[in-house]
């Protein structure tokens, strides 16, 4: 059963002289446990697509159905709550709250969910250990490297026990070594914990790790391959 179904999704920007069809009638489904890369050149519509799927940017038309919920029918507050409980996010950079330590950043989302102190504490520790940062619990983001920050962001995304994780170019600001570490962690989590990842990239080495590659161009799906 698909956990995400995208039906005739379009996003048209009317601002310019010629309207830009950033996402153009996309139909797509994602299954539990998939490890999908959305690829394509810059401007092909990856961010717009992921934002529509993640409930961050309202599409012009079409639907995004997550576990039988047509998310764009939800009101503002309900949509935020839906994201909190169902979707994990990793952004390109500056994901973390600068005044909070790694531990607090991870705990933060569980606190928003209203989870108990003990659960938060245990889960934070094991998640940060899982991303290889068991020693950096009390470091603030500015004391962590870009790669470490992204790993904390992955731990935070996982902390809320989401149905899937959306990561828009999570490695774009990382050197190749950090990129590799981050992807290895994501891959391990996917294989061992059956965590569903959807991430975008235009880095060929990152693409290679994916088990499903959705290629976009001009807002359309050019190809959809599974390995």
């Amino acid at each position: 059963m698909s956990i995400i179904k995208v039906n005739k999704l379009s996003k048209i920007y009317d601002g310019a002289e010629i309207p830009v069809r950033a996402v153009d009638g996309v139909d797509l489904a994602f299954e539990q446990g998939e490890f999908t890369a959305v690829v394509g050149p810059s401007g092909s519509g990856k961010t717009t697509f992921l934002n529509a799927v993640g409930g961050l940017d309202r599409p012009t038309s079409g639907e995004v159905i997550i576990d039988d919920v047509d998310i764009w029918q939800l009101s503002g507050r309900k949509l935020i709550d839906f994201r909190l409980h169902n979707i994990g996010f990793v952004f390109q950079a500056y994901n973390l709250i600068p005044v909070m330590t790694a531990k607090e950043n991870v705990e933060f989302i569980m606190e928003l969910q209203g989870r108990s102190k003990e659960e938060r504490f245990d889960r934070t520790k094991s998640l940060l250990e899982a991303v290889g940062l068991g020693e950096r619990l009390n470091s603030r983001p500015n004391k962590l490297s870009g790669g470490q920050q992204q790993r904390v962001a992955v731990a935070r995304a996982l902390a809320s026990k989401p149905k899937f994780i959306l990561a828009d170019e999570p490695t774009a600001n990382l050197d190749s070594k950090s990129t590799e570490t981050l992807l290895d962690i994501m891959e391990t989590l996917n294989k061992e914990e059956n965590i569903t990842f959807i991430f975008s990239t235009h880095d060929a080495r990152v693409m290679k790790k994916a088990r499903r590659i959705v290629t976009m161009e001009d807002g359309k799906i050019l190809s959809d391959e599974r390995k």
Binding site: F91, Y94, I97, E111, L112
Partner: protein
Amino acid sequence: MNIILAWRNLWRNKRRTLITVASVFFGVLLSTIISSMQEGSYSSMVDNVVKFYSGYIQVQNEEYWDNKTLNNSMEPSQVLLDQVTSVKEVTHVTSRLESFALASSHTITKGAMVSGVVPDKENEITQLKKWVVEGSFFSENDQGVLVGSELAKYLKMGVGDTLVLLGSGYHGVSAAGKFPIRGILNFPNPELNKQSVYMDLKVCQEFFSADNLVSSLIVMVKDQYDMPAVFKKLKAKISAPYAVLSWDEMQPELVQLIDSDRAGGQVMIAVLYILIGFGIFSTIMMLVAERTREMGVMVAIGMQKSKLAITMFLETVYIGIIGVLAGFAGSIPIIIYFYNNPISLQGGAAAAMTEMGIEPYMYFTLQPSVFYRQAIIVFAITSVVALYPLFMSAKLKVNQALKA
């Protein structure tokens, strides 16, 4: 979480926060000192004026205030006296009988204001004794009188001479009497010196054929802050034919003087706080602008905008609280110092005050209202300023914020 987050956010830009806090600090410091000085001076003015003659509260025949004649005097019943003394904040009660008479020596005659008082009680309230510059004070049933210095000079009389008083008594009975001068009074106010004649209440009642009658009961309380409550209690207990008057009803000029002066001070304080308000506002504006992306991330991962707004609201409130507390910490020692060491005034202002019977000192007050008002004002300002982040987080577009 909000509380900690807001607190840490506050110190992200230490210098800016400190500058903003400092502006609140100076605002509160100046405002408390100004208000303490103003209110302290007013209350000392009131206390002085009130203690000089009128008392805080008077009970009279209801006709007396508008038409101050002997015929409108009253005979205070025991019930009335009990009603007054039963109010526990009342510290002193005394009676006076006042009317006009002609004062003369052999050849010279002049109008005088005759006050019949209970010497010891009167002295407790108005310290009448302290104005006696020649001769001595009098005691109960004393047939002698105290005369204002200018009046005595005009009549060319001194201590030991006999003053003749002529007038009309109760219900038009003619009043005439001879009274030995016991002492000369020299008030700071020349008007009083020109017309005052004091005598014992009983002697006065006899002179005016007004047995047992008084013009008013003078009621004293600890200070003006006790007055409103006592006034209310007395008003509730005492009804026609008696009337209860408060000092502010009896001294409308003083009330007006204080009100207009206070308004001046308030305008100054208002301008000060408006400036501070804009200072805080610009800080909060910058703070929101530089955190757009971060706010986007927080809302994206599932933080409700209202929670975000509360965090920013708290930051604004912290600035206010720190500023206010620091301001108090700075102003309280200064105010306490001047409370204990009032500033002595010199020159024209001092002379004018002395003339009005007011000690020429700038007094400070430690009334809580001086302080909590500033706290309320700062809280109101920060609340208004905090509407901005509230508004900005409400209209935050996550996808755009994430691009910032």
